[in-house]
Amino acid sequence: MRRISVTFLPLAFLAAVIVVGAHAAGAKTTLSLVAYSTPKDAYAKIVPTFESTPAGKDVALTQSYGASGDQARAVAAGLSADIVALSLEPDVTTLVKKGLVPSNWDKNRYHGIVTDSVVVFVVRDGNPKSIHTWADLTKNGIQVVTPNPFTSGGARWNVMAAYGAQRAQGKSDKQAIDYLKKLFKNVPVLPKSAREATQVFASGKGDVLLTYENEAIYANKKGVHTEYLVPKQTILIQNPVALTKSGLKHSEAKAFLKFLWSSKAQKLYGDTGYRPVLKSVAKSPKYNYKTPKSLFTIDSKSLGLRGWKSVQYRFFDHNNGVMVKVIGH
């Protein structure tokens, strides 16, 4: 009896797999979107909206979300991707270096950037520990939650926001790096992605979470009892999107990319807490977020930020980066 079931079972399952597989291989073009961890909510709305437009009629988009650096690594290792939506430019550059994304991916009006955001402080409802400035984060007994900068894109934005904020207050490069060391002494956990960090903070750990503004808004939407504040000095987060070389082969992928800069999609990004890049949408009062007093970018030379290429190497190189010494105390 068991012998029969032992031979029957694999055949039955094989048959089932064939049936399912045949069904899935319909007339649609399947495209793969590989994204970082936080825009899941946004793309959950954008993708079906695109699929209901004439350009997206016969398209089925699969989606994968995870830590930005991790996702880039997976694509480099063979994860199919037609469109990559990552947290920051260096993760796309990794793919350009590996020959998977064309080097002219950012040659458009928006330099390949599809959404903006800023680094914010998320605190418990009522801000019981009175956290308002970057200096407050290094106080004794304050626990700061931020992801691991070697896997998470959000973590790298956090680090550069912290560094840049010090420089914006007139501190020297050395003083800014000393600040980073003090900051990370107050970091008790290092989740691997921004979404996981939000999860850890929501489950009760830590006094303040450093994250994207859109992630703070998402947490509030999900009923987590937190509030967020935009610090006086913070960095402008710019999230890139690119077509991979395999995506270039499909006109539908190009159409999807174009769609991301349409006002429909930009409004959907805005609805999920992002700062739209399309000026007409950004100007509307619904998405008109406050601009912090001292907003800088990764290219703010006067603050010692010379673009991601140099920053990525100087701070986040696995062997010699500044962060290796900062975290490895």
Partner: protein
């Protein structure tokens, strides 16, 4: 007598705190907001697909490991061949390996730069697909049937088999009518262990899956992604499903190995 009650209380208390309360909590948290949200959480397409993936992978891994497990067990006990000790050690290896290491090994073998990467260049996707996840699951659930069958084969001895051979039975007939019935309880128990391990696998599969929603997510991976997305009801509902499968498995284990209590 106090000693006996103290021991009983201690043991049961330890079990309650460590085992029963956590599992009870899974059920409580799932149905905290009513039956409907929990039901919706496991009947949406993504959850359904995750369940399907889990079952397919187990449906491939378990029969294969059972079939080859029995053959290997017979080879290890009944035949002397060069490298027998090595084969024995290799069979036990998955028990000493972290699942993450298993995932890493497959990643190194089939990924860019790996020895068998040419497969993907010819269109055969191993990583980030059902194939890779199944290979990982087969790896980590491999030892159980072999380990259960080997001691039973040893104990049973070759008398009947030799008698059958002298009477002119072909090897396969001997296997079918003498060996197999002798080991069937061990095989059954091994199958249940293998199934439990295959369904519950998380670490190895999470390394090679690529987290493609609706395509390369198993139910355990779905639990994680729901938890991370603050859909705690969804995470717990899927957990309840897995816990129920686990309970059925546990009952199966009692069925095939009932003699462990006085």
């Amino acid at each position: 007598m106090i000693a006996r009650y103290a021991l009983r209380l201690g043991a049961l208390g330890y079990l309650a705190l460590l085992l029963l309360v956590p599992v009870g909590l899974v059920f409580y948290r799932t149905f905290e907001h009513g039956f409907h949200p929990a039901w919706a959480a496991v009947t949406n397409p993504q959850a359904q697909h995750a369940l399907w993936m889990t079952l397919i992978i187990a449906g491939i891994a378990v029969p294969l490991n059972t079939l080859f497990g029995v053959v290997l067990a017979i080879a290890l006990v009944r035949h002397r061949f060069p490298g027998r000790g090595l084969v024995n050690a290799i069979v036990d290896l998955p028990l000493a390996l972290s699942p993450v290491v298993v995932g890493l090994a497959l990643y190194l073998l089939y990924g860019t730069g790996g020895w068998l990467n040419t497969l993907s260049q010819h269109g055969i996707k191993i990583l980030f697909s059902l194939t890779g996840m199944t290979l990982a699951t087969i790896f980590i659930s491999l030892p159980f049937v072999v380990r259960e069958v080997v001691p039973v084969l040893r104990e049973v001895g070759t008398d009947q088999e030799q008698a059958a051979e002298t009477l002119g039975a072909a090897a396969f007939t001997t296997f079918r009518r003498i060996t197999l019935p002798a080991i069937r309880w061990a095989v059954g128990y091994g199958v249940v262990l293998t199934t439990a391990r295959a369904i519950g696998e998380f670490g190895a599969v999470s390394v090679v899956s690529g987290r493609i929603e609706g395509k390369t997510e198993t139910l355990p991976l779905y639990v994680q992604s729901q938890f991370e997305g603050f859909n705690t009801t969804g995470a717990f509902a899927a957990s309840v499903l897995l816990a129920l499968i686990a309970l059925i498995t546990v009952l199966g284990m009692r069925l095939f190995r009932p003699t462990e209590e006085a």
